[in-house]
């Protein structure tokens, strides 16, 4: 085996901007948009229980956090384009930060493509999911909403909190089984034996 080059901190953070990454972000964003529009369950005005946030996690695992953030941002813009309910950059930008934070997987040793995703990574992932969503939708988005549209702080926050709770729980409840399953699918197994009985 040839030696595996250790990527620098910066390179891991920004991702490699080769054609693979571009296609990965594009397809990730498309999947994000499709899930947001067609697989969501509305729970509150402006807010949906959507599984689309799993997508930047995968993009992050494969290509790094910045591509993950971009996939979430673009995916939100796509959803706005598909649904036609207008562009809401306060949410898209918030999603960029979620994508970036949940896409940090390569930094804590979660290497899905090599089948590495254990309990340790799961715990870090869960913490990051909560922190990321709380920071992005709980802080960035409401601030932007206030900046762009003004409004009543408490209600904007109440709506944001609802989104924080639903999105972070989706990331954990739906995301964790998928991450474990993906890692298992890619894991190389040795010593598999056929059992006749």
């Amino acid at each position: 085996m040839s030696e595996i080059k250790k990527k620098s901190f910066g390179a891991t953070l920004l991702g490699e901007w080769n054609t693979q990454t571009i296609v990965g972000v594009a397809l990730g964003a498309a999947l994000f948009g499709v899930l947001m529009v067609y697989a969501g369950i509305p729970v509150f005005t402006n807010t949906k229980l959507t599984p689309s946030y799993i997508v930047p996690v995968i993009v992050g695992a494969l290509f790094g956090p910045l591509p993950a953030g971009l996939a979430a941002f673009l995916g939100n813009v796509f959803a706005d384009l598909l649904g036609g309910w207008g562009f809401w950059f306060d949410w898209s930008i918030g999603n960029f930060f979620i994508g970036f934070i949940v896409g940090l997987l390569p930094f804590y040793g979660a290497e899905i493509k090599k089948g590495v995703f254990g309990l340790k990574q799961a715990i870090i992932y869960a913490v990051l999911a909560i922190v990321g969503v709380a920071f992005s939708i709980g802080l960035v988005t409401p601030l932007l909403t206030l900046l762009f549209f003004g409004g009543e702080l408490e209600i904007t926050y109440a709506q944001a909190q609802a989104a924080v709770i639903s999105d972070s729980s989706i990331l954990i409840v739906v995301g964790l089984p998928i991450l474990f399953a993906l890692a298992a699918r890619y894991r190389k197994r040795q010593g598999l034996k056929k059992e006749e009985n």
Partner: protein
Amino acid sequence: MDNRFIIPLVPGERFLQRLTGATKVRFFVAALCVLMVSFDLRILLPGLVLQCVLLVSIRPNLRRIRFIIIFMIATNLINILLFFLADPLIGSRLAGTTTVLFKLNGYFQFTSETLWYFAARLSKIAGVFVASLWFALSITPSQLASGLYSLRLPYKLCTMVSLGLRYIPDILRDYEGTKTAMQMRGMELDPRKTKLGARLKQTSMILFPLIMMTFEKVGVIANAMELRGYGRGKKRSYYCEPETTRADIVFQIFALAVFLGFAAYVITGLFIPHPELYIPRF
């Protein structure tokens, strides 16, 4: 296939739709900046009217957008009602003055500031919404990419936009196929018949093969692009972009003027603060 989407895949025939992507993107960005930052009804209202004129000019298929319009109106009215219930004096707080028009009791009172505030907020949101709608209805994904590129964005970023939109119908088809496969396995997808917990579990089961299939494609598509020389040059041109006409130039100058005016407004605001909310004094 495209009839499920708002964004057209084939350029339309109306005047606005025949403009270049570069013009449409510039015009939209200028409009968005003004609508998002200003709280001045004297600017917002003409802005809203202009956006509506643009939307009407492309004769949108009403049947397709009716639902979205109703949904937006309902959501925003509910929001405004919530705002009012939470803080009836919200406008007065922002303007710093209180002119009571009508009093229900000590808490619920209608002030002229709050009314102006709600009017401004509504025309802002309606303006952004209508602008997004004409923009989405008049630009194709490829023109969107070329328009963004004309704003000096790196073309790799622009490719993500058009490529992503290109594969959305394919991914949607895969999503429905996967859902069908799980229904045949015996999954009950009717939301009325399943509890939330079970549905979350179902969701991860549907998502898993969908994610596998989507990211399986990345390598092949990247190969297909590289083999045709993608990513080698520093610059790129666009086949989809129509020739620039005089109308494009007029629109671009107008957009630039609006943008510069907006920038001047923001910059002067740094030295002499504009009132946050415009309240007419009679």
